[in-house]
Assembly symmetry: C2
Homo-oligomer: 351 residues x 2
DNA sequence: TTGAAAGCGCTAACAT
DNA sequence: ATGTTAGCGCTTTCAA
């Protein structure tokens, strides 16, 4: 008795129901729904009314079967919990919605079933194109997809040689260049240590380049002793700096490679009784939420992550619509000066 | 000349191609793909070989059209960038993948088109069920969906009266109760201020209840003057505490309502020259990433967010499979004691 | 401007 | 154990 009217297995309204109700053919309903072809204003009204009346919503499955288009894009990411995933997803979602695409997402621990393209969760069978985060698909898989003409955009990773897949990234080199310039020009740093990111990581590569170019631009020597493993990871950075300190390495600044690396460095420095920034300046990259709240607040580089997501979708949609995408989209970064470099920053905790 | 072999508009392999290649009927291919019905080992092999050879992947659209099942669940969220979105999404994604469902996500600024259920991005037309974050769907919309028998799970929000939609949340009351107990029992706090969260927010409600129960359990009076607006927001919390201080309100502890509120409180206290935790203890709720790094490190309450995501998917899938879901899933929280309450916490920056 | 009808690629009876 | 076949709900020529 508690389950009155529970058995309403009424199937959902179909285009045919609408057609019948409006007294037109399904073709006409399709025309007004998709705004394709000419339909009298009057007919259009009737159809719309019918649609509203029975709460009609076109079946996505039937639609894509008939039109060979899913109107959905896929996002492939290796780890959803990287700090900038939120902002980038936000950018992707808003842009996808804006241009009328659904967003299907999936995490993949890469290098597992690397060549089994055919049992992927995301692909030509359920999406019109894929946004591929760094490290989620092997070159082989990418090659396969490119080969069958499937739209792809690389995020935070440039295209493997051979395949020319459009990619969108941020200006790592420029950002680092400005950052290191600041250390040298404003704070007079002379021996700037650098905590390198993970091997084979594009960001690491370009940041190191920016670091070197800045040194060169100021006629400062590149000293390999000042280069260590940071791996974009607090603990590794901490260990490296601790070792440096134990070995008596001299330096007046540390670029952590990223903000996590900078935090690790600060921790090590502090444990060794060094003051930041008085004794050693420390800077990071990424401007994670936390950077703002550290004491001292971290000087770092900010990238327009959300825009990167939007751009990626734009480039992908271009391909889906058979237009030519930009081969590379490189978003500008911005220096965020706080206190850890030695600048005195205003109270910005509640900025 | 640069575009050799560009025109490969070869359409994707279909089940028929596989059938032909393997010398069987499409029904048999369907059987081996979906592991439904009996098929000889030998035939199975042939089919699998054919599938692998032409890289066959069943069209999702055709599949759902024929089977009336999308094998996809939808996630509706109002704001993708709340701090715990990462972990919860991670839980949702992993569980969805585990049970063989795709994940479609969409953000909705609620209270816009509130009743236009039929032009929603996510719904019965493209998903088998929806995970609904607090504040994304109006009661009316929820009612409509419940009414047509569409599987729903509420996240971080309990069911509106009338509709009995399964929900999964965390133990806000218990968590707060333990937290306040700690302040009273361990640190001897007597006048504990409370920064209330947003109006009509479920978390606010239960946290306040936990706060009051703890006071009562220790025969401490409930003083309305000690209750203020925190709104789960740094700035608001900051203002409130600043006002309190200006007005000479006396208190020996502040529960920020959440971690953001706690941060706002700490800022205000510090500006007024008060020391935390020596003069005033401050505690939060959520254990955001940042909590760990604050100075002093924030004592707070941690919820198993990722598990909440998993549970939500589990409950949703139960409904999709016509099983009975748990009406309410309440995940336990855990007290995280650091320094801001007055405890001396070990160095845990690199924990 | 509108309708009829042939698929789209798959599943699920029903046969065999 | 396997094949035949009738849809699933939509789009899209082609006619009218």
């Amino acid at each position: 008795m508690l389950r009155v009217r529970m058995n309403k297995i009424q199937k959902r309204a179909t285009i045919e129901d609408v057609a019948k109700l409006a007294g037109v053919s399904t073709a006409t309903v399709s025309r007004v729904v998709n705004q394709t072809g000419q339909v009298t204003e009057k007919t259009t009204q009737r159809v719309r009314a019918a649609i509203a009346e029975i709460n009609y919503l076109p079946s996505a499955g039937a639609k894509s079967l008939a039109s060979r288009k899913t109107n959905t894009i896929g996002l492939l990411s290796s780890d959803i919990s990287v700090p900038f995933f939120g902002p980038i997803l936000r950018g992707i979602e808003s842009e996808a919605t804006r241009v009328g695409y659904g967003l299907l997402i999936s995490c993949t621990q890469s290098s597992q079933n690397s060549s089994k393209v055919y049992d992927r969760y995301l692909g030509p069978h359920n999406t019109d194109g894929l946004l591929v985060f760094a490290g989620t698909l092997s070159d082989e898989e990418l090659g396969y997809l490119v080969n069958i003409g499937f739209p792809l955009v690389l995020l935070h990773q440039s295209s493997p040689a051979g395949l020319s897949i459009p990619s969108v990234t941020v200006e790592n080199k420029d950002g680092t260049y400005s950052l290191v310039n600041h250390l040298i020009e404003v704070h007079g740093c002379q021996r700037i240590a650098f905590l390198r990111g993970p091997e084979n990581h594009q960001d690491s590569y370009w940041r190191e380049l920016g670091y070197r170019e800045s040194l060169k631009a100021h006629s400062l020597p590149y000293d390999p002793h000042l280069i260590g493993v940071g791996a974009f990871n607090q603990l590794e950075a901490y260990q490296t700096v601790k070792d440096w300190l134990a070995n008596g390495l001299e330096f007046d600044a540390v670029f952590g490679g990223d903000d996590e690396g900078a935090i690790g460095a600060i921790t090590a420095l502090r444990e060794a009784g060094q003051r930041v920034p008085e004794d050693v300046a420390v800077v990071g990259f990424d401007d994670i939420h936390l950077a703002h709240y550290l004491i001292p607040a971290l000087t770092t580089v900010r990238a327009p992550i959300e825009q990167a997501g939007q751009q990626a979708v734009k480039q992908l949609v271009r391909q889906i619509e058979k237009e030519i995408p930009d081969p590379i989209t490189m978003l500008p970064t911005e220096l965020v000066i706080r206190s850890s470099c030695g600048c005195s920053s205003e109270q910005e905790v509640l900025a």
